[in-house]
Amino acid sequence: MTPAARNKPLALRIGAAVFVVVWLITAAFPFLWTFWGSFKVELDFFSIADWTNALTGERTEETYGRPFTGAGYFGAWVQEGFWRPVINTTIVCFFVVCTSLTIGTLAGYALSRSSYHYVFWLLITALIFRAMPPITLVSGYLPPFFQWNLWGYLPTAIIVLVAINQPFTLWMLHSFFTKIPRELDESAKVDGCTQFQAFRLVIIPVMWPGVITTGLFSFLLAYNDFAVTSMLLSEANRTMVPEIAAFLGTTYTEGNVMFAVAAVVSATAPIFILVMFFQRQIVSGLTAGAVKG
């Protein structure tokens, strides 16, 4: 595609650029708005009197004497110790991604290299498994987990997240592995490799585009999960999302929405760094790793 891109007519290039810009605004506007608003007080952020208050910060100025305040950040990080859930989230994400990619690549590879009928049925079964609403699954876990004293710990939540997401990982990796030509590992096997050696020596070096993409989604799932983490983790082991939900308050009690907003904004920064770091893998890695047989 890259050579073709160079000699595009001007109109098409402008059209594409305008489209990308419009999309970027659509995608990023709510976030930028949140970012801006995170330095305001709640009544400005949800500016019921007049939406322009969210821009000018009228109530914030009244309270703090200037239109910006770091009170939300101070509250979330210093008062409420938001770093603890951040560490928990880091642990959960890291292990979920590693575990699900390790067992997922093995299984996805095997599925793509076997042509018996059971492969199809395994994929279908996995898909049906995925249809199960997570809240039902989680409420089913509670009695045995309490019984065997597994409830509340990070490893439990990690294994559950891996398992719940495994059908998706499997399908995703299966479709990527199917696109890697079979001749690659077949020829390695002809040269005397076992199946696992063929996988390790020939397939692993070229599988990264698919694995990185899948890993990205595993990561986002673990990072944003609410159903599992809110129900299976004790208060001390909470990850970010249940903690943010706790900031929001309930029917009878006041929450602190600005703590939640500040927490969300600051929790997005590491992802920014992560994506920037991986973009070389995602962009050049994908292009260079493109399979040519």
């Binding site: 109530r59 009244e62 309270t63 409420s139 409830w151 809110s230 249940p242 009878y252 009690t253």
Partner: protein, 409 residues
Amino acid sequence: MYLKTTALAGALVLAAAGAASACEITGGRVSIIGNEFPAIQTVGAGAGECGGIEFNSNLTADHQKLNVAGMSGDPAEYTTAIIANSSIVALINEDVIQPLDDLVAQYGQDLRPNQLITIDGKVMAVAFMANAQHLVYRKDVLEQIGAEVPTSYEDMLAAAKMIRDQGIMDNPIGGAYAAGWNLAQEFNNMFLGYGGNHFKAGTAEPNVNSEAGVNALNMMKALSEYMNPDFLTHDSNATNAEYRAGNVALMNMWGSRAATLTTAEGVLQEVIDGHAIAGPMTVGGGATPASTLWWDGWTVAKNVSDADAEATFQAMMHGIRPAMLNDETSTLAVWLIDGYEPTPAAIGVFEAAQAGTIPYPMLPYMGLMHTALGNELADFMQGKESAEQALTDVEAAYVAAAKEKGFLN
């Protein structure tokens, strides 16, 4: 709010360090599950001060989904659950909490008799705070239109009409009418205010499709005409935000939130100055206020050893001891604890109790009715169906659920 809690917990820890002998228990395990609001956090922190026990607490908004499962095992993960009169029912239905009579006799000298929740003659829980919905209003706006403080919903409607007609506010009434739990709760208030009974006496047969039910719905519809058009999405957070922004002059709000209504950052000065609270209103000429009374309290799990039960009871007693009341904690809730001096924000709840407001029904099947109401009333509020049809739907939905749970045949 959170600042207070944290500071408070810190202060309590310091106090405990100074007077460690205040609560010394000889062994046992204490593990708390409960909601996470500041008053409960304070009680939990207080229980945790006790020495000589293995202490654990899990305070979360999802406590209702966890407590039954966490208390069903043997031994139970949680030795105590902090619950309200609506949620104790699930624990009693599943038979996971134990009678406390012996423990009360042994360790409960500090308790006032009205803190004991007795069911079928047995003490099942110890209450420590009360709550109710009541009127919150802007006295400056009422003065401006020359109206008295409304004591009935009819007065409220009349005042709202004047406020709108005089161009002071477009939507002067606020209410937590979000479809689901909140809307159902508003219906319960109104329905009880009209003298309705949710069930036919002594049975689990529904009884909401009655004159009281239709009147309640019509009153809610009339009130909603003076609310923000998005009222079906407004929970109590959104309603309070409207009030703070000066868009609402009259609303029925939870007592537990009255104390912090004007303390949030950036509230308009005129709202702070004009803010006032009063008891709950009546409706339709009835004498019983259209509201419900609530309590929060703690229980002790059934499947725990006697030592753990004793330790838990003692630790929780320490959490709600009269000495824990001070300037900071007194504002957190309307405490039922001996020696509590009501703060100005507590007037509404006290008046609710004095005016003979009905406690939220503690019946095994009330939760099913609440769910059915929350799910089926929104169509009526949007004008998609008649009040009778909506109530017929409620009863049908309730009957299906009650049959499944074995309450009806």
